[in-house]
Symmetry: C2
Subunit: 143 residues, 2 copies
DNA sequence: TAATTTATTGCAAAAATTTGCAATAAGGAA
DNA sequence: TTCCTTATTGCAAATTTTTGCAATAAATTA
């Protein structure tokens, strides 16, 4: 029983198909919960889906993002775009000097985002925000 | 008189150098104001800096982002990471179904971000947030 | 101005990501 | 179950992005 059964109805309702490749990738994202690079996802998912290829990994991640099942996150300083399963709302605050990071809970930005949902008419906003700043340590060093 | 003279002191104070390549790229970003892909930046900047190469463009954009002079933005549906000069604070709300987008003014999220600056100790947060949602039209179609 | 230091660049090659298209297989219909 | 339609995949090739390293040039000093 794969966790992919959670997502299958969602996809089929929109005319998409649940394939073994998508199951494997969703399984990896779902159980890791973390931000994973395409390469990490490829390595882990192909244990369940032998024959899996890189083009499929990239296309699937883009597909999941477009459909609101995964969130992309670009972290300055890391070259690869990472993906994470949609779950607990949270955001990232990263020091652009030393790279140290802080996870920001949903209470910080979420109210403003819900407000925006109301005023814009857009709905189902998945927020996965990466903010860049200077951490306290680097503020001192920079003067 | 290039607009790069605006940025030179900033860089030199941190031990970096203002080069003809950086001048050209800053000039392009500064006067466009828009989100530009590395390829667009390369094409425009090399008019002023002949001999400019792609590795330099990529390294410079990463450099400007790390130093708070430019903001990267990953737009789901577009493959390339785009960059924009740091200027008016604003955010993007994009429909993950049809791609239509809305610019979100600084009043929507900025108060929450200033609040976060206070509570986290991080400072000089450049926010350039891309939020994904479903626009009103696509909400109807999706049911 | 000339010399010095080293941040930055260009080049060539490697690695990552995207694309076109024919083959495959998921899901629905018979 | 078998047949159909077409969304999805794998493959090969194209394109984009990154990296190592020697050559270059910005800024400081003499
Ligand atoms: Mn995250
Ligand atoms: Mn923008
Ligand atoms: Zn820091
Ligand atoms: Zn839409």
């Amino acid at each position: 029983m794969s966790c992919a059964s959670l997502y299958a109805p969602e996809l089929r309702a929109r005319g998409f198909r649940m394939t073994s490749q998508r199951k494997a990738i969703l399984h990896v994202l779902h159980h890791s919960g973390d931000h994973l690079s395409p390469a990490e996802i490829f390595e882990r998912a192909r244990r369940e889906a032998p024959g899996l290829t890189y083009p499929t990994v990239y296309r699937t991640l883009e597909f999941l993002a477009k459909n609101g099942l995964a969130m992309p996150a670009h972290i300055v300083g890391k070259k690869q775009l990472a993906y994470q399963i949609v779950g607990e709302s949270h955001h990232h605050l990263i020091c652009r000097s030393c790279g140290s990071s802080l996870e920001v809970g949903l209470d910080a930005l979420e109210p403003a985002i819900r407000q925006l949902e109301a005023s814009s008419g857009y709905r189902f906003i998945n927020s996965h925000v990466t903010l860049l700043g200077l951490c306290p340590k680097c503020q001192k060093e920079a003067g």
